[in-house]
């Protein structure tokens, strides 16, 4: 087994709003091993983005419980200054909107160079040279000219490459990618996914990939974590999850996506809609939409149990591995 790079335990991030406390992330456990790609899947409001932002300590929400250990250091215990040394250096992030996450008034070179100057103590000239190298690495043509251009002069795909160049510039151990290709067209998405795979192999970077696109997950990830309403509901390696999904929510998701090689049969659909965070009652959060829900599901929250080797599921339908008759 590869060594653990990131271990999130019992994480709870709550938001204080006028209507009360919203438990956006409600007891999440995630482990990322060195050099692997972990996918975090779920629909809007399931807490996947808040989990990643909390890991970077960028969330405005309050961490009420849990720990985040990164390379055996407790991130939640670091001072702001110590955290700044980790962020962008050992751990970097790519955001969904390459349009809004680049600063429009600085050149590409200045923006990539900033992190390099801070974390690697390079001079301005060295940082610029490194920025050009990074742009070449992510496949941007005319890197020497692009480095002096502004974000608005680039297309969406090029901007996302710049974001990746920026994130990779200090050789991070962990790259958190929050919907990195959602805003892009499919042909550009294919280019970006190829690039991420290539960089991961070259630098042995672990990737935490947050997405709602099961196609992207199948292509990129080694392991997958499915989230629903602030909790992990299933976790397995990618092949197991796609061939033998256990949780009714995962099964429903798999059946409801139209496939290119699929038949024209009516799509399966999960009835109802995602619960609004903070409005949850007792019991399993998926119970109101679940075909198999029984009384216990409506009363008590199931545990995330390992039901087979390396396959966990939070559902009353399955018993933990050791307890099976």
């Amino acid at each position: 087994m590869k060594p653990k790079l990131l271990e999130i335990k019992g994480l709870k991030t709550y938001f204080q709003t006028e209507e009360g406390v919203v438990p956006a992330v409600d007891g999440v456990d995630i482990v990322v091993y060195e050099g692997e790609t972990v996918g975090i899947v779920g629909e809007s409001g399931c807490g996947k983005s808040v989990t990643s932002l909390t890991t970077m300590r960028l969330t405005p929400g309050k961490v009420v419980a849990g720990s985040i250990s990164f390379q055996e250091r407790d991130l939640l215990a670091l001072s702001d200054e110590e955290m700044r040394k980790v962020r962008g250096n050992e751990m970097a992030m790519i955001f969904q909107e390459p349009m809004t996450s680049l600063n429009p008034v600085f050149t590409i070179g200045q923006q990539i160079g900033e992190a390099i100057e801070i974390h690697m103590q390079y001079s301005k000239q060295q940082a610029r040279a490194r920025a050009i190298d990074m742009l070449k690495l992510v496949g941007i043509p005319r890197a020497e000219q692009i480095v002096d251009e502004y974000p608005h002069q680039l297309s969406g795909g090029m901007r996302q490459r710049v974001m990746i160049a920026m994130a990779m510039s200090c050789n991070p151990k962990l790259l958190i990618a929050d919907e990195p290709t959602t805003a892009l067209d499919v042909t550009i998405q294919a280019q970006i996914l190829d690039l991420m795979r290539e960089l991961k192999e070259k630098h042995n970077t672990a990737i935490m990939m947050i997405t709602h696109d099961l196609g992207v997950v199948a292509e990129m990830c080694d392991r997958v974590i499915v989230m629903y309403a602030g909790k992990v509901v299933e976790e397995a390696d990618v092949v197991t999850l796609f061939t033998n999904p256990k949780h009714p929510y995962t099964q429903g998701l798999m059946k409801s996506i139209p496939r290119l090689n699929g038949t024209d049969e009516r799509l399966y659909s999960i009835k109802g809609s995602v619960p609004i965070p903070g409005t949850l009652r007792k019991g399993c959060t998926f119970a109101p939409r679940c075909e198999y829900a029984t009384d216990i599901c409506r009363q008590e929250i199931p545990e995330l149990n390992e039901i087979e080797d390396n396959h966990s599921c939070r559902c009353w339908l399955y018993e933990a591995k050791g307890e099976q008759a």
Partner: protein
């Protein structure tokens, strides 16, 4: 299918150019050719899918067909009548036969109106129903799209994205149209909600004999819902075929690349991906000849200078020099 034989809308040489102006006198220096010469037919009762990447002109095509945008050139023949250049009064009468469902269910419903008022508005404009009859019709429509009559008194902000899209669909159905242009109707929705709305659209088609022009960038969704599919690139259609033919044997190199780029939700699937180089060129300054040639793997000399003709090959259409 026999239904396919009757054309509902025939689109001939449809063009929509936007002028690029310069200087104090707003001199026109160039044009953005958003839609640049389309020829195709939408048959009664079918779903015609329109796919392509952002900026390829698929939304402009939908809006130009409905005359929400004035075409620069060309004809849109709806049941034998050319809509282009038609007198506004005449056009208004035909309008009720053609409705639109928009992408963003958050932006396409007036936040100050109740859902009942939103759905009733088209009926008032076209003086179709009034009074009690109108209210009854609103209730009916809400139930048809899977909502309840008590929702009529509420405002859009009280609904989730999927429910709002249902309201948008109810509004489009209010005038009993023949043709619905659906512009990315499910792309803003979550996966589990998306399939609900797709199923609803298909049920309604069966129930009311609707014809759809379904515009989307998600190829899996388009494949699922459509009978035939047109692929657009830089304002032109590059291929149009029955969906099974298109997916099994794509002819145009762009269609081939586009299909191979779609991530397959199966970790065991073998991938043979054609990764296109570069970005889509600007429609203000499209390449000479075939607009796809700078990114095409099968590019020949002729492609750089001559625009390929829209040719019929075994009952399907393609614009590529490989098949002329």
């Amino acid at each position: 299918m026999s239904m396919r034989q009757t054309p509902l809308v025939e689109i001939r040489n449809l063009k929509k150019y936007y002028p690029i102006t310069k200087g104090l006198l707003k001199r026109t220096v160039n044009h953005v050719k958003a839609v640049d010469g389309l020829d195709f037919t939408i048959y009664k009762g079918e779903t015609l899918g329109l796919v392509g990447e952002s900026g390829c002109g698929k939304s402009t095509t939908g809006r130009t067909i409905l005359q929400l945008l004035q075409p620069t050139e060309g004809e849109v023949i709806y049941e034998g009548k050319n809509l282009v250049g038609m007198k506004p009064r005449e056009l208004r009468k035909l309008r009720k036969n053609m409705q639109m469902v928009f992408q963003d269910p958050y932006a396409s419903l007036d936040p100050r109106l109740t859902v009942g008022e939103i759905i009733a508005e088209p009926m008032e404009i076209h003086r179709l129903y009034a009074g009690k009859e109108k209210d009854k019709r609103v209730d009916e429509l809400l139930e048809v799209v899977g909502l309840s009559s008590y929702h009529a008194k509420r405002h859009p902000h009280e609904f989730s994205g999927g429910q709002r899209q249902r309201i948008g669909i109810a509004r489009a159905l209010a005038l009993e149209p023949q043709l619905i242009v659906a512009d990315e109707p499910v792309s803003a929705l979550d996966v589990s909600i998306q399939s609900q709305v797709i199923n609803l659209l298909q049920d309604l088609q069966g129930q009311f004999g609707l014809t759809y022009l379904f515009i989307a960038h998600d190829l899996s969704v388009v494949k699922h819902i459509s009978d035939r599919i047109g692929v657009m690139y830089l304002g032109r259609m590059v291929e149009l075929a029955d969906k099974h033919d298109l997916y099994d044997t794509p002819l145009h190199p762009y269609t081939q690349a586009l299909l191979s780029a779609v991530p397959v939700p199966d970790p065991l699937a073998k991938r043979e991906r054609i990764v296109l180089q570069g970005d889509v060129p600007s429609p203000a300054n499209p390449p000479q000849g075939c607009t796809f040639h700078p990114r095409c793997q099968a590019c020949m000399e002729i492609c750089k200078t001559q625009r390929p003709k829209w040719t019929e090959v075994d009952g399907r259409y393609v614009a590529c020099h490989l098949y002329e």
